[in-house]
C-alpha cells in the first residue's frame, strides 16, 4: 500500500473513530431511576402475556409492574434485588434475559464459542493454504512457451 493510500484510508478511520467516540462520550451520569426502570421493564416478561416484555405490553398488569419498578428504582433498590423479587414471585421464567448463572450460562456462552471456533477454523485453513506452495512458472516452462511461440 502506498503512502497516499494509507493517508486516504486513515481519513476514513479518523471519521469513523471520531463518530464512535462522540457517541460513546458519557453525556450524562449514572442512569437515572426512570432509565433503570425502563431497562428492567424490557427484561421482565409481562405475566399475563405470551412473551411480550413489560415495556411493550399494553395490559394493565404490565402497566402496574412498570409503576412498581419505577417506585423501587426511585427507592434505591439495585437491579439485581428488583429482579430477585420478581423471580421469587413469578418464577425464573419471568426473566426474558436468562441469568448468567446456572443453566442459563450456556445460552450465552455457546454461540460465542461456536463463532470463535468457526473463525479459528478459518484462520487455520488460510494458514494451511498459504503454506502450500503456489504453482509458479519455472525457467524451463518459460523456454518451452517461447519456443512454441516463435517456432
Amino acid at each position: 500500500m502506498t503512502r497516499r493510500d494509507a493517508l486516504a484510508w486513515g481519513g476514513v478511520a479518523a471519521l469513523v473513530v471520531a463518530a464512535l467516540v462522540w457517541a460513546a462520550w458519557p453525556s450524562s451520569g449514572p442512569p437515572t431511576a426512570a432509565q433503570r426502570a425502563h431497562e428492567l421493564a424490557t427484561e421482565l416478561r409481562c405475566p399475563d402475556c405470551q412473551a411480550l416484555s413489560v415495556a411493550d405490553s399494553p395490559s394493565s398488569s404490565a402497566r402496574a409492574i412498570l409503576v412498581d419498578l419505577q417506585r423501587r428504582a426511585a427507592a434505591g433498590q439495585s437491579d439485581a434485588a428488583i429482579r430477585r423479587v420478581y423471580v421469587d414471585r413469578y418464577g425464573e421464567s419471568i426473566l426474558l434475559k436468562p441469568s448468567s448463572s446456572g443453566f442459563g450460562i450456556l445460552v450465552w456462552a455457546l454461540p460465542v464459542v461456536a463463532v470463535a471456533l468457526g473463525l479459528a477454523g478459518l484462520g487455520f485453513a488460510f494458514a494451511r493454504w498459504r503454506r502450500q506452495p503456489r504453482l509458479a512458472a519455472t525457467p524451463a516452462d518459460e523456454t518451452l512457451v517461447e519456443r512454441v511461440r516463435t517456432g
Partner: protein, 676 residues
C-alpha cells in the same frame, strides 16, 4: 359429499406418490429408462389430487358447509368472503392442505422443467425425494391432521376464525407467501439428495435448481416481512418483531437459504465450498420441517397459539429421518467432495463468501439455540425459563453488523486476489460516505454504537451499489453507444443476477436503516387523559375526545377517539380500541396507526371494561417503519430482476479477422518435434 371428495382426493394423492416412488426406484435399480419416464407423470398426479382436495375444502368454506368440523371451527356465516377463502389456512389441518397444494405445484414445475431429462438418474432421484415428501404430507392428512372430519350433527352456524385472523387483509397473503417460500426449498433439497446419491455433485444440480431456489427465497423473504407488517398493524404492541418462536422458526430457513444463495456463486466459479452448499441446502429443508413442528406441536409458548394436535411426533420422526439421511449421505461421500481449488488470498471474493457463510451459520445457531433453550432447560433441570428479546438483540446484533459490512464490501472484491489499488478505487469513496453518515447520525442524536455502525455501513453499502451500477452503465455506454434511456435497462439485462442481487442489497439496506432508526428515534409515552384533555409527545399533540364501550356476546370493546395534531396541521381522528375477553386476563388491542414517510403515530388504549373518566392512551411515535415495508418491496423487485432472462448479445459489427491466414506448410519442411 365434499368430505368424501376431499378424502378420496387425498387417498389418490397418497397413492400417486407411493406408486410413483415405487416405479421410479424400480427404474433406477434396474436401469430401465421407460419406467423413469413413466414415473415422472405421477408428480402431476400429486398436484391434481392436492388441487381437488383444496378445491373441495374451499367449496365447503364458501358454501358454509358446517357438517365439516374444520369449517365449523374456522368459519361463520358472518365471515367476509376474503376471510372465508383464507379460512383454508386458518388452522392446522387446512394449512397442511395448503402445504400439500404448494408442494404439488413445485413438483409439477419440476416434472415439466426437466421433462427432457426424465431418464437422467439425477432427475429421477430428485423426483423420488419430492414424491416421498409429498407422501408424508398426504399421510399426515389421512392420519392425525385430517381436514375433512365430519360432525355428527351440523351446527347452524360456525364459530368463525379467531378474531385476530379476520381484521386485516394481510392475513390472506402472509401464509400462502410464507408457504411458497418454505415449501419451495424442497426442490433444491431433492436435487441435492439426488446429486449425493448419484455421485454427480459437480455444478449441474446447482444450475438446475437456481431459479427455483431464488424464487422460493424471494417468497419467503416477502412472507416474513408481511408477517412483521401484520404483527405491527394488528397485534397492538407497537413493534413488529418479538423473536417469538414461530417468527424465529420461519427466520431460520431464511438464514441458511441466504447463505446458500451466496455460497453457490463460489461453487459455480471455482468449484469450491461443495460441502458447505450441500449442508446449507439440507439444513434449509430440515429447518422448514422444524418450523412446522415448532409452530404446530404446542411445544413452545407463542403468540401464534394454534390448537395442538397429534402431529408433533410424526413431524419429529420425519425430521429425524431426513436429517439422518442427509448427514449420512454427506459422511458417505465425504472423501469425494473435496474441491480441486483453494482460496488463494484472505482478501478476495471467495473468502468473503466463506466468512459470510460462517456468519449466517452463527446467526442461525444463535436463533435456534435461543428458541429451543427453554425446552433444553426444562428437559435437563426441570423448571422453565424464558429466552426473549433482550437475549436475541444482544447476540444477533453484532453478527448482523458484521453481515452488513460484508454485504457492502464483497461485491467490490475481485475473485482470487486483489491489490491495494483496486480496493482503493472501488471502496474508498463509499467508505468516506459511510464515515460522513456516521458523523451526521451522531449530530442528529444517535448515541448507540450499534445504530451508528448500522447507519454508516448502510451508507457504505448504498454508495458501493451506486458505484457498481454506474461503472456498468458507463462501460456499456462506451462500448455500445446506446442512448442514455436504454443503457440502464440493458446493463441490468446483461447480467441480471448481479444487478438483481445489488437491488436486493439495497432493500436490505432500507431495512437496516429502518431498524436502526426505529431503535434510536422512537419516542413513547403513556398519557392518562380526561375527555377534552391533550398531551404532547415528541411534537405530536393528542386530544382525547371520548370513548365508546360496547359489550358484545363474547367480549367488551372499548374504543377511544383521539385527535392528532402535528405542527399546526390536523392529522385526523384515530380510534384505537381494546377488546377484553372476560375469560382471559389479557385484552387484545387494536392499534390505530397513522403511517408517515418518516414517522408513524401509533395509538393504543389501555383500559378496563368498567372504567369511566380518564383513559390511558399509549402514544408511540415510531420512526421509519414505512421503510421496512418499502425494503421488502425492493427485495421482491431485486429477486424478480435476478430471475429474469439474460440479454443475449446481438452481433452488430462482425468481428474482423485478427489472426493472419494460415500458412500452407511446404512438403519439404518437417514440423519441428516439440518436446512435451
Amino acid at each position: 359429499m365434499k368430505a368424501t371428495l376431499g378424502i378420496f382426493a387425498l387417498a389418490v394423492g397418497a397413492s400417486c406418490a407411493g406408486v410413483g416412488i415405487f416405479v421410479l426406484v424400480m427404474g433406477l435399480v434396474t436401469h430401465d429408462e421407460r419406467q423413469l419416464v413413466v414415473g415422472r407423470r405421477f408428480l402431476f398426479g400429486v398436484l391434481a389430487a392436492a388441487a381437488v382436495a383444496a378445491g373441495a375444502m374451499e367449496w365447503a368454506l364458501v358454501t358454509h358447509d358446517y357438517s365439516l368440523k374444520y369449517v365449523a371451527e374456522n368459519n361463520a356465516r358472518a365471515t367476509p368472503l376474503l376471510f372465508t377463502v383464507s379460512g383454508l389456512w386458518a388452522a392446522l389441518e387446512g394449512s397442511i392442505l395448503l402445504w400439500a397444494l404448494v408442494l404439488g405445484g413445485y413438483l409439477a414445475f419440476m416434472a415439466h422443467r426437466f421433462r427432457a431429462r426424465a431418464a437422467d438418474p439425477l432427475v429421477a432421484w430428485a423426483n423420488v425425494v419430492g414424491l416421498t415428501v409429498a407422501l408424508f404430507f398426504f399421510a399426515l392428512m389421512l392420519g392425525p391432521a385430517n381436514p375433512f372430519r365430519r360432525l355428527s350433527t351440523a351446527p347452524p352456524d360456525g364459530r368463525g376464525p379467531n378474531a385476530l385472523l379476520q381484521n386485516h387483509p394481510l392475513m390472506a397473503f402472509h401464509p400462502p407467501l410464507l408457504y411458497m417460500g418454505l415449501v419451495g426449498f424442497t426442490v433444491p433439497f431433492a436435487f441435492a439428495i439426488g446429486a449425493l446419491v448419484t455421485g454427480r455433485f459437480g455444478e449441474g444440480w446447482l444450475e438446475d435448481t437456481r431459479r427455483s431456489t431464488l424464487f422460493a427465497w424471494g417468497c419467503l423473504s416477502v412472507g416474513i416481512i408481511l408477517g412483521a407488517w401484520w404483527s405491527y398493524e394488528v397485534l397492538g404492541w407497537g413493534g413488529f418483531w418479538a423473536w417469538d418462536p414461530v417468527e424465529n422458526a420461519a427466520l431460520l430457513p431464511w438464514l441458511t437459504a441466504t447463505a446458500f444463495l451466496h455460497s453457490v456463486i463460489v461453487q459455480e466459479r471455482r468449484g469450491m465450498l461443495r460441502v458447505w452448499n450441500l449442508s446449507l441446502v439440507l439444513s434449509t429443508f430440515c429447518l422448514t420441517i422444524l418450523a412446522t413442528f415448532l409452530t404446530r406441536s404446542g411445544v413452545l409458548n407463542s403468540v401464534h397459539s394454534f390448537t395442538t394436535s397429534g402431529i408433533g411426533p410424526w413431524l419429529l420422526v420425519f425430521l429425524a429421518i431426513v436429517a439422518a439421511i442427509g448427514v449420512g449421505l454427506i459422511a458417505w461421500r465425504g472423501d469425494r467432495l473435496r474441491a480441486p481449488g483453494r482460496i488463494d488470498a484472505p482478501i478476495s471474493r471467495e473468502s468473503a463468501f466463506l466468512v459470510n457463510n460462517l456468519l449466517f451459520a452463527g446467526l442461525a445457531f444463535v436463533v435456534l439455540l435461543g428458541t429451543v433453550y427453554p425446552l433444553l432447560a426444562e428437559a435437563f433441570q426441570g423448571h422453565q425459563l424464558s429466552v426473549g428479546e433482550p437475549y436475541f438483540n444482544r447476540m444477533a446484533t453484532p453478527l448482523g453488523i458484521a453481515l452488513l459490512f460484508f454485504m457492502a464490501v464483497a461485491p467490490a472484491l475481485p475473485w482470487r486476489a486483489t491489490s491495494a489499488a483496486v480496493l482503493r478505487r472501488r471502496l474508498l469513496v463509499p467508505a468516506y460516505a459511510g464515515g460522513a453518515t456516521m458523523l451526521i447520525a451522531v449530530a442528529l442524536g444517535t448515541r448507540s454504537v450499534t445504530a451508528l455502525l448500522a447507519f454508516g455501513l448502510a451508507a457504505f453499502a448504498v454508495a458501493g451499489v451506486v458505484r457498481q451500477f454506474g461503472a456498468g452503465v458507463l462501460a456499456r455506454r462506451r462500448a455500445e453507444r446506446e442512448q442514455w434511456t436504454r443503457v440502464l435497462p440493458r446493463t441490468v439485462a446483461s447480467n441480471p443476477r448481479l444487478y438483481g442481487g445489488l437491488v436486493v442489497h439495497l432493500g436490505v439496506v432500507c431495512i437496516a436503516l429502518a431498524l436502526a432508526s426505529f431503535g434510536t428515534f422512537t419516542a413513547k409515552r403513556d398519557v392518562t387523559l380526561a375527555r377534552g384533555q391533550s398531551a404532547t409527545v415528541s411534537g405530536y399533540r393528542v386530544t382525547y375526545l371520548g370513548s365508546t364501550n360496547h359489550k358484545g356476546s363474547q367480549d367488551t370493546t372499548i374504543k377511544a377517539r383521539v385527535d392528532v395534531h402535528h405542527g399546526g396541521s390536523d392529522l385526523g381522528v384515530y380510534a384505537p380500541a381494546i377488546k377484553i375477553f372476560p375469560n382471559t386476563a389479557e385484552g387484545i388491542g387494536t392499534p390505530s396507526v397513522r403511517t408517515g414517510w418518516l414517522r408513524d403515530v401509533y395509538l393504543t388504549v389501555v383500559s378496563s371494561p368498567n372504567q369511566r373518566g380518564p383513559v390511558t392512551i399509549g402514544v408511540r411515535i415510531n420512526a421509519m417503519v414505512l421503510w421496512l415495508w418499502v425494503g421488502g418491496g425492493v427485495i421482491a423487485l431485486g429477486t424478480a430482476i435476478a430471475l429474469g432472462p439474460r440479454l443475449r448479445r446481438t452481433i452488430r459489427r462482425p468481428v474482423e479477422r485478427v489472426l493472419p491466414p494460415p500458412v500452407e506448410p511446404q512438403p519439404s519442411e518437417e514440423p519441428e518435434a516439440v518436446p512435451v
